[in-house]
């Protein structure tokens, strides 16, 4: 059991942190968040410097590193800014589905594309009403190919993405069978609809996608036909680690700001960091940050060692997103009135933390999944 990062991991963490510190401009952050714009310029730079897709093999535009390395980068980015960090993490949402289950052709097409900053990929799985076992979006057999019919909601970056991974209920397969496809978004029959403003993760535009008999070939199938739900489950393990890493970064970033403010802010003739209630709060915050960090690293490492257990990934996402929420909440309180103002920055961390907490699946859903698992229900 070794709890230390390797030299290489520490270097990556340092490089990501330096990049974020140098490039994330606070004024632009306020503007991107307000206007709900994806930070294209930062994303380009991050791709140019090789921060995106580090866990893809070199042949597919990556650096052949591990998920933990990728998680360290997300954490470092979110620590500097929750909005940009989340935008970077979700710029290739669904990539690991292609990475693990895609054909060589699919990997060559998509992975270098997203890692090198040529464009975006997204995963469409959620629908109105949460039930991953039965989707209303259906893939019908159509000669040698398929036709997709249905509607997906809460699709991140749908408006910008050139590629979409879509999870469908498979017609004619065994009950509960699902199939996954990789589509180009300009496929005929795909319609985009905005989902309005969001509370957090505002640099990641979100839309719904309607599929009206979108005809695709057999080559667009990702993984095995009818095995989509197990592919999705595996993918969600990875996605939870990424979301968890974002949570750790947000929590750490909110804590950094609160500590800094508490040291500078003087009331009652002394810096408020010397006051007992503030020290107590800071201690609570550190407790949450560290708990979350080790849970996320543990989960990442279990996937890297090919010993996946969704217990760890559920815990990672659940604990880290709650840590982000609670620490950012405390950070606002320490900042007082200034914390409630946009200029104070921490309210933006808090809103992003809330969105992250509800993204993919809510904490209460995660708790019930964990409960089912412990009690032994399938």
């Amino acid at each position: 059991m070794d709890f230390n990062l390797t030299k290489e991991q520490a270097d990556i963490q340092k490089a990501a942190r330096e990049f974020a510190r140098g490039e994330f401009d606070p004024d632009r952050i306020l503007e991107w968040d307000r206007k709900q714009e994806f930070p294209v310029s930062i994303w380009k730079r991050a791709c140019d410097l090789g921060f995106q897709g580090v866990h893809f093999p070199e042949t597919y535009g990556g650096q052949g590193l591990e998920l933990l390395d990728h998680a360290l980068i997300i954490e470092a980015f979110c620590r500097q800014d929750s909005g940009i960090g989340l935008a970077m993490a979700l710029s290739d949402f669904g990539a690991e589905m292609v990475l693990v289950h895609g054909t060589d052709d699919q990997k060559r097409k998509v992975l270098p594309f997203v890692a090198q900053g040529e464009g975006w990929l997204t995963l469409a799985f959620l629908e109105e009403g949460y039930d991953l076992s039965t989707f209303q979006t259906i893939s019908h057999k159509n000669g040698n190919g398929y036709a997709i019919q249905g509607k997906k909601s809460y699709v991140t970056l749908a408006v910008m993405a050139q590629y979409v991974v879509v999870v469908c209920q498979a017609e004619f397969s065994e009950p509960g069978g699902q199939s996954i496809f990789l589509l180009t978004k300009d496929s005929k029959g795909i319609e985009l609809e905005g989902m309005g403003d969001k509370l957090g993760m505002r640099m990641i535009p979100m839309q719904s996608l309607t599929f009206r008999r979108v005809v695709i070939t057999g080559k667009d199938l990702v993984g095995q036909e009818g095995k989509g739900s197990s592919h999705l489950r595996e993918f969600l393990d990875t996605a939870r680690v990424e979301a968890g890493a974002a949570g750790v970064g947000i929590a750490q970033g909110a804590f950094d700001r609160a500590l800094d403010y508490a040291r500078k802010r003087e009331q009652f003739g002394k810096a408020i960091v010397t006051l007992e209630p503030i020290k107590n709060k800071l201690a609570d915050m550190v407790t949450r940050v560290e708990m979350a960090r080790w849970m996320v690293y543990r989960a990442a490492s279990s996937l890297d060692q090919r010993k996946p257990e969704d217990r760890w990934t559920i815990l990672a996402k659940m604990i880290a997103s709650k840590a982000a929420l609670e620490v950012a909440n405390d950070a606002i309180q320490i900042h007082g009135g200034y914390g409630y103002m946009s200029e104070g920055q921490v309210e933006h961390f808090y809103r992003d933390a809330k969105a992250l907490d509800l993204f993919m699946e809510s904490g209460s859903l995660e708790k019930s999944m964990l409960g089912d698992q412990i009690a032994g229900r399938a």
Binding site: G129, M195, F268, Q333, G337
Partner: protein
Amino acid sequence: MEILNYTEDHLRFRERVRSFFEKEVTPHVDEWEKSGITPKSIWKRMGEEGFLCTSVPKEYGGMGADFLYSVIVSEELVQTSHTGLAAPLHSDVVVPYITSFGSEELKKKYLPQCVSGDMISAIAMTEPNAGSDLASIQTTAVEDGNDVVINGQKTFISNGINCDLLIIAARDPSTSDAYSGMDLYVVEAGEKGFEKSKKLAKMGWQSQDTAELAFTDCRIPKGNRLGTKGGGFLMLMEKLQQERLMVCIVAVAGAERMLRDTLRFCGEKVDFGKPITKLHNNRFKIVEMAAEVRLGRVFLDKLVADHMEGKSIVVDVSMAKFWTTEMAMRIADQCLELQGSYGYCEDNPMVRAWRDMRVLSIFAGTNEIMKGIAVKFMGL
């Protein structure tokens, strides 16, 4: 037996307020949230209907009504799904300083206009370097003949842009004691040297025109001081009790509304083939939320009753302020949680409530200050 005895008159008043808000406030809220301010015309309309400053004595144009009328307006305003129209701040926090401590001349001059909605008021205590530590304010008021000259900067001032009348806390630099050197003055907007310098962007209360105010050699008549010289700090300590009680009303009524509306929404929405409220893991959570809201209501009503009887509520209101505001935030948080992905979409009215509730534990004295007051009065 009810804790508060609402009469037929109160109930009729509540009906009138509710129907007025439904017709003239709720339909405009989205627009006000976008523009970051409420139009003066709605204040004027509230004045015409008799919904502003209900406690002001009849001789100054008010109703001379009891505190329950203030509670009613505040509770009904919570139902309008926004918090920016800070009429209770005007009616029940700022104007009472004039009613209680203003000279006859000031009362005659300003109270009727505050009641009619021709004047919107604000109060300026907080400064960039003086928040929780109110005694450390740096804004100065220097007497010069029959005038007083004010210099300094105030921040996070609600109604800051709309205000026509401001009560400002300032210190006399010739008095070294921070407490006995503080005074409150009434300043009209438009006085030379009084600048509404900046409207502030914030997480919530987006239709509220919270602002920074700047004073540069702002000259006002000496007669604009409230009460006797050096009495400012004590006046604040007295009136902050009701201000905190007003915050508790927003917290409890807000929590009630959020829970009610969320249950309505979740009863219709389906996850795993069932309405969200029927899902096993949600049901206990909902019962826990309902229990918290009930506790808040009972605590609040008892405080209102005590306040109306003139009892000292310092300790209880300090406890209620931190407990009810934290409760309201817990309820807001859990309401979004119940709604899953829809919980972060801004067209969901609960999202605005979540953003709005967050400030309650900060303004009118942070929750840490509330606990500090309780500690002191409980002799701990």
